[in-house]
Symmetry: C2
Subunit: 205 residues, 2 copies
DNA sequence: GTCTATAGCCAGATAGAC
DNA sequence: GTCTATCTGGCTATAGAC
């Protein structure tokens, strides 16, 4: 059989587009730069994806469907609350280290077009946090954790995990640490963040 | 004496530019839109600020010097650690509600140009976190808080305060809350966040 | 399917009248 | 200082050869 090309052109373009869009954003990206990154001609981008807008949407959806299952782990896993927090924190930080531009890209583009955000999050029939909410309330009722609104706890989990990757230039500057040290601190957060959260909410028997 | 114009043209332009740049970013903003927002002609922008780049820098520096003293409060206040966390959280969230686009703008543009970030944070002789570090270490030595790296605690404080404003479209979508409810949740965070942090680090006597 | 060449448009910047 | 008109370059998109 013929050796299947491991990168057909369409995929080649999409990967190049990811690189450029995620670094520069929709408005900052240039079709020429994507073509150069892919090592092909600019006309091909339009041949395969029709327009910059459609290529961007393909990239965004691809990025989002990579992130979604990660976030889903917090919301709808069947495990206990503490396990969930620990495994999410550990997994998510590993994940993000291999996709450093991703969370900032998603957040930025959702801010640029909040209507798009609403549409996307609705059509993806994204898991709502009802299950998580029930679980939190049970833990409170059983005296396992102190009273806290599920939404606030959810925001806190997201914030502690995601923010240091989104705001790395700011945090590096403020704490005056170099890239190498910063990376080490991020690795430490795999356990640090879960400890921080659990220490905050756990009731001492 | 003559009634001083409460808005001279230069200032008028700067304010319009803030609006547009903070919403659209450097690459998304259009000089025409800034002119329209200011109610004047496009040529005036160049007359006063020479180029889009220079106008942008004026806006960025203005925004940053508004944010800087806020952040400074965490780092170099003379108060006790717990007071510092409580007052920062309360003040910062009030501040950000009146400048909703500001943190995202700063973070986005620092990501777009990390070299600029380094330069800015250096030249502003920004307070380093040494004082904060000493304070945290003293609290640990005195058994007031559990062991934690000052950098990690600092990241956590920043994350919990800033992230929900930067990622509001995402968090609104995931938790399925409307704008009104979200705003209420943000107001609650004025005390919620400080409690969350202090609960996590405080040693129970 | 892939390329080169170019159309067509739009945005930043400037010239020059007032 | 403020305006209108215009230049210039760059970017998306397409036409058309191969």
């Amino acid at each position: 059989m013929s050796k299947k090309k491991d990168t057909n052109t369409e995929e080649l373009i999409l990967n190049a587009a990811k690189q450029v869009f995620q670094k520069k954003g929709m408005t900052g990206a240039r079709m020429q730069e994507i073509a150069d990154e892919a090592g092909i001609n600019k006309a091909m981008l339009h041949y395969y994806y029709r327009s910059k807008q459609l290529l961007f949407e393909a990239v965004f959806k691809s990025a989002f469907s990579l992130l979604a299952p990660q976030l889903n782990k917090v919301i709808n896993a069947k495990t206990s609350l503490f396990d969930k927090i620990e495994s999410f924190t550990n997994n998510y930080i590993s994940f993000i280290i291999t996709h450093p531009y991703l969370p900032n890209f998603i957040i930025q583009e959702l801010n640029r077009n909040p209507e798009f955000a609403k549409k996307l999050l609705a059509e993806k029939h994204f898991p709502n946090i009802d299950n998580f909410k029930v679980q939190v309330e049970e833990h409170i009722a059983n005296g396992i954790i102190r009273p806290i609104k599920a939404e606030q706890l959810f925001f806190n989990i997201m914030a502690l995990n995601i923010f240091p990757f989104v705001a790395s230039p700011l945090l590096k500057g403020l704490t005056n640490v170099d890239d190498e040290t910063y990376k080490k601190l991020m690795l430490e957060r795999k356990t640090e963040v879960a400890d921080f959260i659990i220490n905050s909410i756990k009731v001492i028997k």
